[in-house]
């Protein structure tokens, strides 16, 4: 336990033990934190039901128990160990549940979406090839580029990959990315620019090693810029793995 959070641990333990005064304080101080966090996750209110359910568990009502007063309470707060502030722990638990629900929905719901996206990207690739008969190498260039990019990413230090993922995949802002990695947003920005440069140089080197001339390398990069829509590398990556 971090000594900075001793008061939070004390409050959590008293709440878990059923101290009504402690619970009153918890409700006054931390309930708004929980619901603000839910709104931050989904401004349209889609995470509020998760916050409701979490709030019930923090009190000690389990799912499926209809009469809260008759059931024996078992508060979730007993798992709080004080490695962080109570507010941050609540946010992390809420975030965990939110992300897991989204992932579960994605697994259950439309595999069709993914298939559609795959089909769409294959269609766009075919269309690109159809529209540009003058450059029959485009598909090969894209595959080579995607392949090289994948290897370049794998060679980056983990923290650089994480920074890139936070920014490009999770779509955090520079300030949020910097906050996670404990650096100033300008530092995050510089590191991102450096990583992009390192990746580009690595990709260029790999393309040269694959026997491409400078003008062909330029055509490789141009083929991505010319593509008006987002480029889906999944089918390309799949092909390259086969």
């Amino acid at each position: 336990m971090d000594s900075r959070y001793a008061a939070d641990v004390d409050l959590a333990r008293r709440c878990a033990a059923g101290d009504p005064l402690a619970w009153e304080r918890f409700v006054a101080e931390y309930r708004p934190v929980l619901y603000r966090a839910a709104d931050a996750l989904d401004p349209r209110g889609g995470a509020r039901d998760i916050a409701d359910s979490l709030y019930a568990e923090l009190y000690g009502v389990k799912d499926g128990v209809k009469d809260a007063r008759s059931a024996e309470r078992e508060s979730l707060l007993r798992y709080f160990q004080g490695r962080s502030s109570l507010a941050t722990w609540l946010r992390a638990v809420l975030a965990q549940r939110y992300v897991d629900r989204l992932r579960a929905q994605r697994r259950l719901e439309p595999l069709a979406d993914e298939e559609q996206s795959d089909r769409a990207s294959e269609r766009s690739l075919r269309a690109a090839n159809r529209d540009e008969p003058a450059d029959p190498n485009r598909a090969r260039y894209l595959t080579l580029l995607a392949d090289a990019l994948s290897r370049a990413l794998a060679r980056l230090p983990a923290v650089d990959r994480l920074r890139l993922a936070c920014y490009y995949v999770q779509e955090l802002t520079l300030a949020e990315t910097g906050r996670l990695l404990k650096e100033h947003e300008a530092t995050s920005s510089r590191h991102l620019a450096r990583s992009r440069r390192v990746i580009r140089l690595d990709v260029e080197r790999q393309l040269r090693d694959a026997g491409l001339q400078d003008d062909q390398i330029a055509a490789c990069f141009a083929s991505v810029v010319e593509d008006p829509g987002p480029l889906d590398l999944k089918p390309l990556l799949r092909e390259s793995l086969q």
């Binding site: 941050t88 638990v93 994948s150 490009y168 300008a186 991505v224 987002p230 590398l233």
Partner: protein, 376 residues
């Protein structure tokens, strides 16, 4: 060469999201982080070794990436206060107190010496009209309020001495005349913001004619920016209230457009980082020291307005749907815009979200760094 590198960086950028996603799905290994560990990480309470291990795992685990990203998004935004401002504010109170103490000491000392000199050289004045003793402090106090620099106490001493030495040579009658002549001037009620103008107005022209020209010239650029950054906006009368409106609308993002031949200045919230758009040469310059030195970044850029929500982020817009973004204050990336129309102003909140206004008054917003634009 540099241009080609930038284009290739853009290509890499366009492919990164999906390539990274494919990587994380394929490479995820080890145990996922629990909420306790994520919370400790966010609160910067993880030991260095544990944090490095967590980073290594999250770099390749899609679920944990989503978890930490969601946790970070739920954290309240820190209050943006620059260290310079904090240190300055820390010194401001004692400095003000010290300056006030010095000013009072000088004023009192000067008055005492003036009074003692007056009493020594003109005892008749003091003896003949006792009520003028009451008037004396106000006479000596007047010059210290009425000069052009009311904030600086130093000039108060010589100016306070001037009437005192004059008094030494006057008779009681002359002195009361001098007081009577001073009475119409209302030094105490003079607004301290523009003491020179109000005095000039009182002396030479009727009050409405004395409009303070220099401050208005400064607001033209800002007002032009709000109106859309067009040159024809400069012909309209500048409105001070409009610049206040910008401050209220976008406290974090300073936004300006072209006005006359003045370069458009885009100032970041910390005020040290700023960009200026030079209309005549069509170039963009950057300063990281509050405008003391400038470095040219882009030449011939067709940009006319910009917005900087933080010290390293700047958005620029211009003719033909040009949108440029810099996230490190130096390198610029072209952001795609759906229409080839002139963009006249922009308001950005971070490196992903911005709202632009087109020449025909429509507004478009993006929250994904220009991947998609939504008409408002």
């Amino acid at each position: 060469m540099k241009h080609a590198d930038n284009e290739r960086d853009t290509s890499i950028e366009r492919m990164l999201a999906r390539a990274l996603r494919a990587q994380t799905s394929a490479r995820a290994t080890g145990d996922c982080l629990d909420a306790e560990t994520i919370a400790a990480w966010v609160d910067d309470a993880l030991p260095a070794r544990e944090r490095a291990a967590a980073q290594a795992h999250v770099a390749d685990c899609e679920r944990c990436q989503a978890l930490v990203a969601a946790a970070i998004k739920t954290m309240p935004a820190p209050v943006a206060r620059s260290p310079w401002r904090l240190s300055f504010m820390g010194w401001l109170v004692p400095l003000t107190v010290a300056a006030a103490a010095i000013a009072i000491w000088i004023n009192v000392n000067t008055r005492r010496s003036a009074e003692s000199r007056a009493q020594a050289t003109a005892p008749k004045v003091a003896a003949a009209s006792p009520q003028q003793d009451v008037a004396l402090p106000s006479a000596t106090a007047q010059p210290s309020i009425s000069p052009g620099s009311p904030e600086s106490p130093a000039p108060a001493a010589p100016q306070a001495q001037a009437p005192a030495t004059a008094r030494n040579k006057t008779t009681a009658h002359d002195f009361s005349d001098a007081l009577a002549k001073r009475e119409p001037a209302p030094p105490v009620t003079t607004p301290p913001a523009a003491p020179t103008e109000s005095r000039a107005a009182a002396e030479s022209a009727p009050a409405p004619a004395a409009s303070p020209a220099p401050p208005l010239a400064e607001t033209v650029g800002v007002a032009g920016g709000i109106a859309g950054g067009q040159r024809d906006a400069a012909s309209k009368p500048p409105q001070g209230t409009a610049s206040k409106a910008v401050d209220k609308m976008a406290p974090r993002a300073m936004m300006q457009g072209f006005a006359s031949q003045e370069p458009v200045m885009i100032v970041s919230p910390d005020s040290a980082h700023r960009w200026r758009l030079l209309d005549s040469r069509g170039s963009v310059q950057h300063s990281s020291d509050g405008g003391a030195s400038w470095e040219t970044q882009l030449m011939g850029a067709n940009v006319s307005a910009g917005s900087s929500p933080s010290s390293s982020i700047c958005w620029l817009v211009g003719r033909g749907g040009v949108v440029l973004l810099s996230t490190d204050g130096r390198a610029w990336t072209r952001i795609q815009f759906p229409e080839q129309i002139d963009l006249t102003s922009i308001r950005a909140t971070d490196d992903r979200s911005a709202t632009v206004t087109t020449r025909d008054g429509r507004t478009f917003s993006t929250s994904d760094r220009g991947v998609s634009w939504t008409p408002q």
